[in-house]
Symmetry: C2
Subunit: 451 residues, 2 copies
């Protein structure tokens, strides 16, 4: 079904969309009534509600609670074909995309291309850290982190040596953005409230949860007052918050942190070592490597600079949206890499394509910032809506309502609500299942604990 | 905390239980009020409700719906310590068990040992078939099968070549016992009812589902009338049922079946080849390899022959229960390898240990057979209670009630009920999420599709 530009019967233009995250899915939906043929290609078979991924990683929700098959979401939209595959090569001159695998059709021509492949974890040149400090971007990541967390408590229970046991009960979360704050807060709750009565030889309540941020404060996108509130709420949960300390080494036995603001005469700064068998990475994202296929110079984070209408300067039929796009707005602010921005960009590009098909010109994209929110734990969160700032239980209720409202799929909303109601009343976590696990890793710090 | 036989303060006897399935868990619970110390060791962190495993494999339920952490189930039973680990060596003379990993304590002395490590898939000497025809024994198995099923439909949608597409839409289930019948029936429903409107290029309703049984009929443990009913119900769902055909070869491109009852003059029998990219194994179980550690001759299936009180002839302090035990009862019948038998054995051994502690002797174990049931699909099942035989919707309602009643854990029951109610009304499956997947396997029949 290769799209031929010179077919006899004029067929509607072909819009090829790479990535079924917030950007790609909102673009697809925005074209529902347009006279186009859409092909939506994603590496996975599902759209993922990424804001709740940390709940899967911390065993509060099961994977299907926060993900739904793309073809199920789009089943009634007859102008879209959903395919599972991974784009490998983009030839912007030939207007053709090649997929990685050779199973089935692997080459697609397009009239319009929307690249929405998002971001991946960045280890700032330390790719050797990855096996010891997994990131949280996909469902597979979340299940791997869940396995590692739960296995650490299991290993502590089996361990006789108090020093080795303490290392199993020491958790380090690198990165003080929303994901790091959520992970650290939830981990502290699990250790303090969910697990203690179930262990006989070790005491999960003695677990140390370290949250490490290289910058001067947590949640740097938020006002300082909310950063301070988030820190207080975390410390109340028992999290050790370290700011101004950057990671200088990670291996299977722990992390080394270096002071960012050395105060001694030699300017060397103190170094802190934390023994830990479970280090989690929430410190940085890099744009999807597919940006390199577009024949344009990328920014330092690998993002693709786009025109005000989100297209490429040299190829107006190619759009880049979501975390992969780099757009400086007229007012000098940069559009942030967050879910609402990706949705808005997706919807904008859909309407831009419809407008172009009618021969008109489009207004530039404008990001509408509805605010910023981060949850910390049970009944703890911070919300910044610009005109109003909330923290504590009110912020948490706001966060809960917003997330359930935006979660895709009727069934998911009920089940997620039920699961949450249950965790709220009981402090229990419903998905404490270790799958894909080997027995706990050996006491050899040079080994990865991947399992 | 190694158990020393010569400790100064007499401590309660140590009961070591290997395996947290139905047998091991029921034995542990049966000892709740006994003056013993219990250590329960399982390879995983959870008890699995195995009768619903096929629902996880077919994307109807999520893994946490049918599994709960053993230490959570047993949190209020203060005389038990739950450890995650895998027994490797049993020294019945020294009364000591060694665990596989060297993380933490790895050697446990016991006063009583209960071996309840169950069964695994058996490929009858064809271990090379395993990668092409995964079995269904653990949650990991179920998730691997789910990935393979869903990926096959995805690959068919991407495939242009009609022959290759037909092979992706051809599914073979080997084994006509309860698991094979459940898998084939559910697969047919998914192909006919759940998926069709969501695909644009391929038609899942054209999928062929083959169920292969070497014996003369399906569900051989049931009366012939119910076997015939099950076959009719499956055929109504669109399953191709092949009886009297045994598998002679399996590879990544399909299976070859050979006639078990050759009728031609040469006695060679016909051979049937079915092209398929998704073959599932439900044909045989072998006892856990741990039986070999017990220094007794095993039966042909690797099971351990036990005394009428489920202990070993040479070591009355060692009990073997569940699928690993081979017990011929006084009436000449053999206790079957089913969940109710494992539970009854577990409860029996617990009371036998309590009785022995009081110096009395125990009555032999007697298996109480409450009947036999198998589900086929939505509103289809067969039930054999001896005095009553049911099939169709009545049998299905009976099956549903029994399974929800027996499912462990309050939360699980509600969520499972909700999930089922939803699938019932909508024909939808709630867990259609491919995780741990690569892109669909290449068109090379020699490759495994493991992903």
């Amino acid at each position: 079904m290769s799209t031929s530009a010179a077919s006899e019967i004029p067929s509607p233009p072909h819009v090829l969309i790479l990535g079924g995250g917030f950007g790609g899915l909102w673009a697809t939906r925005g074209l529902a009534r347009a006279d186009v043929r859409i092909t939506l290609i994603d590496r996975t078979n599902h759209h993922l509600f990424q804001p709740l991924l940390y709940q899967v990683a911390t065993a509060g929700l099961s994977a299907p609670d926060i993900a739904a098959p793309l073809r199920h979401i789009l089943r009634r939209q007859r102008n879209v074909t959903v395919l599972m595959g991974e784009a490998d090569v983009i030839d912007v001159d030939a207007r053709r995309v090649r997929l990685r695998s050779d199973a089935g059709e692997d080459s697609f021509d397009y009239d319009y291309l929307i690249v929405a492949t998002g971001a991946t974890d960045a280890y700032f040149g330390h790719d050797d850290w990855e096996p010891h400090a997994p990131g949280l971007k996909t469902l597979d990541d979340a299940l791997a982190i869940r396995r590692r967390l739960l296995s650490a408590f299991e290993a502590a229970e089996r361990e006789d040596d108090p020093i080795a046991r303490a290392a199993w009960l020491s958790f380090v979360v690198i990165g003080g953005g929303p994901t790091g704050v959520e992970l650290a807060g939830t981990l502290a709750e699990i250790a303090r409230h969910t697990l203690p009565r179930e262990f006989r030889r070790s005491n999960p309540a003695q677990a140390r949860i370290h949250l490490v941020e290289a910058g001067p404060r947590l949640l740097s996108a938020m006002p300082e007052s909310l950063s301070a509130s988030a820190r207080r709420q975390l410390e109340r949960l028992g999290v050790d918050v370290h700011v101004g300390l950057a990671v200088t080494a990670i291996n299977g036995g722990g992390v080394v942190l270096g002071d960012q603001h050395p105060t001694d005469n030699a300017g060397v700064g103190r170094a802190v070592r934390i023994d830990s068998r479970c280090v989690l990475w929430a410190a940085g994202v890099a744009a999807s490597p597919l940006g390199r296929q577009l024949d344009v110079p990328l920014d330092r984070a690998g993002r693709v600079p786009v025109q005000p209408d989100l297209s490429l300067a040299q190829h107006s039929e190619v759009f880049v949206i979501g975390d992969l796009a780099q757009l400086m707005q007229a007012d000098g602010t940069r559009v942030p890499g967050v879910a609402p921005a990706a949705k808005q960009m997706g919807a904008y590009v859909a309407s831009a394509i419809v407008t172009r098909l009618t021969g008109k010109t489009t207004k530039p994209f404008r990001y509408r910032d509805f605010g910023n929110l981060a949850t910390i734990g049970r009944l703890s969160a911070v919300v910044d809506m610009g005109w109003i700032k909330l923290s504590g239980i009110i912020a948490w209720l706001f966060w809960l309502a917003a997330h359930i409202f935006f979660l895709i799929g009727f069934r998911n909303r009920i089940v997620v609500l039920l699961d949450w109601a249950w965790s709220y009343w009981s402090y229990q976590r419903n998905a404490r299942i270790i799958v894909g696990a080997d027995t706990p890793a050996k006491n050899d710090a040079s080994e990865t604990n991947d399992g």
